[in-house]
Symmetry: C2
Subunit: 245 residues, 2 copies
C-alpha cells in the first residue's frame, strides 16, 4: 500500500490500522505533507504503530515503486487513459495471483483533496476504481485503503456467507420439536385455550405451525418446556392443572 | 444503519459520509454520548449533512428498531449466542432480498470502545461479522458502516471486474500490429540493428514477440509509428536512412 503525498497524519495512522486489520504490513509513503515521522499518525495507528516504524518513505512515486513489477493506482474518476480498470475485488484477486507467482505488487492511493494526478496514473499498469454512488463517490485515503485491504483479505478467505453458531448445543430434531408441540397442545387443552370447541382443529394447527417454523436448538426446546411448566404453575392457572415433567 | 451509543461526533459524521458514498440515507442514532445535534458530526459529514438532519435519534435500541422486521447486529467477536452469523456480503444480499419484498431492515453498529453489548445482540435475528485478521480485528464504527455500505452497493452493482477503458480509440487488429512490426523490422534492418547476420532470425523473433504481447490500441500503433519515425530522423542516425511514411 503506497500512500502518495498524504496530507493528514491521522489518515496515515488510520491507513496503517486498516492494513493490519486485513493482514497487510508493507506500507510505503511518498512525500508526506507534514514530514516524517508524524506524531498524529502514531497516535491514530495505536496497535499498528509497527507498520509506521517500518514504512518505506520516499520522495517520489518512481522511487517508492522502483522494485515492483505490478502497479495499480486507485482513482474514483474515469479518465482519458487507455488502461484496464479493475474493481477492488478483481484487483485483489489479480494481486494475489501475481504475488503467488513471486511478483511484487503495489497500489497507489492519492492524497485527500485531489486524489492521484494523471502523472501517477499513467505510470501504473492498471486502475482500481471503487464502485460507489456516482453523485458522492469520494473516499478518503484511509477508507480506500480499508476497502482494498478488506478485499485483499477476502480474496483468501473462506468464511461461509451464513453459518449458524450453536455453542454447546445442536439443532433440535423434528421429533423433539413435535413432542414439545404435542406437550404444549395438551397443556393448552387443560388450560381451556382451545375455545370454542369447533375452532379447535384450526387453532391447534396454528400453534403447531407457529412452533414448527423456527430453527430451535435442543437447548431452546428445554427452555420452552420450562416456560410452559412455569406458566402452568402460575397461581392464576389454578392449583389443579400443574404440569411437571 | 443504526449507530448505537456512538461516542465521537466525528465518527457519526464519517458514518453518514460512508452511507451516502454507497447510496444509503436512512441513519438512526441511539443515545449518542455527546447529545444531538453534534457540531463535530456535522463538520465531518460535509456533503452528507442531510443524513444527519434527517436522522432518527432515539434513547434505546428498542425504540430505534421498533418498526423493523429484520434486524442485524455487527460484532467482531463470536459470542455464546445461538445465532446465524453472516459475512457482510451475504448479509447485504439477504437485506436486499428482504427489502425487495417490502421488509424494513436495520443494522446495529456498536460504540467505539466496546462494540455492541450482548443485550443488543440477542434482540437481533442475526449477526454480521467482518472477516479480518484475528489478531487485530477491531474496526471503528464508521469503518464498519463503510464496509457494510460498500457490500450493500455491490449487492446491486454489475461493474465488470476488469474492463479496458478505451477513450476515443479501439483495440488494434492483429493485422495492424503485424504491419507496424514489419515496418519496425525494416527500419531496424536499415539501421543495422540485426547484427551479427547469423543471429538475425532470433533477434527478429524477439522484436516481433516484444511488440505482439501488449494490448495496443489503434492510437498506440499510430504513436509507435511516430516514435520510429522520430528516432529514424535523429541526427545520430545519419541523413540517408530517413524513413517517412
Amino acid at each position: 500500500m503506497i500512500l502518495v503525498r498524504p496530507q493528514m497524519g491521522e489518515n496515515i495512522g488510520a491507513a496503517a490500522r486498516a492494513m493490519l486489520n486485513f493482514g497487510l504490513d508493507a506500507l510505503r509513503i511518498v512525500a508526506p505533507r507534514d514530514g516524517w515521522p508524524n506524531p498524529k499518525a502514531v497516535a491514530m495507528a495505536s496497535g499498528a504503530g509497527r507498520l509506521l516504524d517500518q514504512a518505506m518513505v520516499r520522495g517520489s512515486v518512481a522511487e517508492a515503486t522502483a522494485d515492483l513489477s505490478f502497479l495499480l493506482a486507485t482513482t474514483a474518476r474515469a479518465r482519458d487513459l487507455t488502461k484496464p480498470v479493475f474493481t477492488p475485488r478483481a484487483a485483489m484477486a489479480e494481486a494475489r495471483r501475481r504475488i503467488a507467482r513471486g511478483e511484487k505488487v503495489g497500489i497507489l492511493f492519492g492524497p485527500e483533496r485531489a486524489g492521484l494526478e494523471n502523472a501517477d496514473l499513467v505510470a501504473a499498469q492498471a486502475i482500481v476504481s471503487v464502485p460507489a454512488n456516482p453523485d458522492f463517490s469520494s473516499l478518503n485515503i484511509a477508507q480506500c485503503v480499508l476497502l482494498l485491504g478488506y478485499e485483499w483479505w477476502l480474496s483468501a478467505d473462506d468464511t461461509p456467507g451464513e453459518a449458524l453458531v450453536l455453542p454447546d448445543t445442536r439443532l433440535a430434531e423434528r421429533g423433539e420439536v413435535a413432542r414439545f408441540v404435542g406437550h404444549l397442545v395438551d397443556r393448552l387443552a387443560t388450560h381451556h385455550f382451545f375455545w370454542p370447541e369447533g375452532k379447535r382443529p384450526s387453532m391447534e394447527e396454528n400453534v403447531v405451525n407457529l412452533f414448527s417454523r423456527a430453527a430451535w436448538t435442543e437447548a431452546d426446546i428445554r427452555t420452552l418446556y420450562g416456560i410452559v411448566r412455569a406458566l402452568s404453575e402460575r397461581p392464576a392457572a389454578g392449583g389443579a392443572g400443574e404440569a411437571r415433567e
